[in-house]
């Protein structure tokens, strides 16, 4: 009797799990079918027009490339991931600290904001060789470039976020005789979080781009180096596979930041207006 009951509960659980999985699929069905459709279309175009593989490989060629070059892709993805993550961390850290300084000292803001804008205005591609000349061919120039790409959007958003606390909120803290650091920790930093995460989501994807661009300049490792090598040797399927990996890396970093954001920010700005 009890066996019957437990097996029924088990079946119900399985059905619930199936339902949930089906639900996820159903929700993302438009995106999934659109992607599948485009891949099939691409395959058909390559077949029908007999496009040579070196010019544009078919999805099946790319799939083979993944299988044949799994080792190369894996060993070159790790340094790119490391550069992107470290660049993301340091670039954003410096931007956040600088934004906090700017908000507390208008002199500092006036002095350094224009310089930050100028550095942002230098094309990253032009900056990469300069940094390679200074720091050599190791990880350092790549981390710096990935960091620089993250730095500016975070600085701009963070300054705006720290200033987003309403004047009434600051009056309240003054009536409570709160110190500057109490205002920073209790009001300014929490109210800047939505602004910060908007910037971090941009930074998550662009840090991967920064690392790859840095690897183009005379590097012997990383996804950027694989892209250059595959291009010059007409190994188009490998080139495409590398691009897919690079994009996946950026999407994963973006996803991680989004999950942390959803966990951290459960509130909405107060006021019905």
């Amino acid at each position: 009797m009890s066996q019957v009951v437990s097996s029924r509960v088990d079946t119900e659980r399985k059905i619930a799990l199936l339902d949930a999985t089906a639900g996820v699929f159903a929700r993302h069905m438009p995106a999934i079918s659109a992607a599948m459709g485009l891949i099939v279309l691409w395959q058909l175009v390559v077949w029908v027009f007999k496009i040579p593989t070196f010019m544009a490989p078919s999805p099946i060629d790319v799939a083979y490339a993944f299988q044949q070059n799994a080792g190369i892709l894996w060993t070159n993805m790790l340094p790119t991931l490391l550069e992107a993550v470290l660049g993301f961390f340091f670039g954003n850290l410096v931007a956040i600290l600088l934004a906090i300084w700017f908000v507390h000292s208008s002199t500092a803001e006036k002095a350094f904001y224009p310089i930050a804008v100028f550095i942002k205005a230098i094309p990253i591609i032009a900056l990469a060789p300069i940094l390679v000349l200074i720091f050599g061919n190791g990880l350092a120039p790549k981390i710096i470039i990935a960091g620089l790409i993250c730095f500016f959007p975070t600085l701009v958003n963070m300054v705006q976020g720290l200033k987003s606390a309403s004047p009434a909120m600051l009056d309240l803290m003054r009536v409570l005789s709160a110190s500057n650091s109490e205002i920073l920790w209790k009001v300014r930093l929490p109210s800047s979080m939505p602004f910060l995460f908007a910037a971090l989501k941009i930074a998550a994807t662009s840090s991967v781009m920064g690392a790859i661009v840095a690897e183009w300049i005379g590097s012997s490792f990383g996804l950027g180096a694989v892209i250059i090598e595959a291009t010059y040797n007409f190994r188009s399927p490998l080139l495409y596979a590398t691009v897919v990996i690079a994009a996946a890396l950026a999407v994963v970093l973006f996803f991680i930041v989004s999950v942390i954001e959803a966990r951290m920010i459960r509130w909405k700005p107060a006021g019905s207006h």
Binding site: S166, A168, M169, D171, L172, M173, R174, V175, L176, S177, A178, S179, E182, K186, V187, P190, S191, M193, I265, R266, W267, K268, P269, A270, G271, S272
Partner: protein
Amino acid sequence: MLGAAQLKPNVPRTEPAATAVSIRNLSVRFGDRNNEFTALSDVSVEIPEGAFVTMLGPSGCGKSTLLRCVADLVHISDGSISVFGRSPQEAREGRDFAFVFQDATLLPWRTVLDNVRLPLEVGKHAQTGDHADPHELLAMVGLKGRENALPHELSGGMRQRVAIARALITRPRILLMDEPFGALDEITRDRLNEELLRVWQETGTTILFVTHSIPEAAFLGQNVLMLQAHPGRVKEFMKVELPFPRSLAARDTVEFIKVTAHLRGLLEECL
């Protein structure tokens, strides 16, 4: 009558008619020499301890500025303010008063309970002095059971109740209120008016209340401080001869209408 004794201001009671706020020849000017604007000119008024004074006047008469001067949020140009014999800055640092803004100014990432507890966490006096029980305060303002709600889950009236509970947590001797119900609908506003009178009678706190509503000024105040504009100065400091406790029904009496008619007449003269 929830814990009325417990909520009394934490100070030894002095003589019954002690002065809570004394304002002498106060002037406030904004701007630089070329473009000066006089917000308040030669304002003098004495607010006795335990009083409920409402401040009324046309826009630009400086009623909010006057309140902000008492709260040490605006710099005084001339004259003096003393709050229980101390300067506004000393009174602020000593937590003699609490301020309620037009906007509830709750921190949106904090729960209702944590918002009420905020004054206990900041400033030099954090954690030291004894304070009211936040749960008891929330029950008093009718928010029992909503302790863990976030501000965006509450209505405008509820948020303002939380702001009042937060102001009372340090058992202030004076409550400064700057159009606290100005942004609320009339039904909510009437109910909060009644509740505020109850809180005032339970706690014995001195209340200074800025409003631009004539009925609100007459219903709440023992006294109405009428200001006029350009420059802001005292028009009249009048006593409202209506008995306490007042209920909303008191608004329909002839006496009440006489008071509001008088106030309306004064306001007309100000224009």
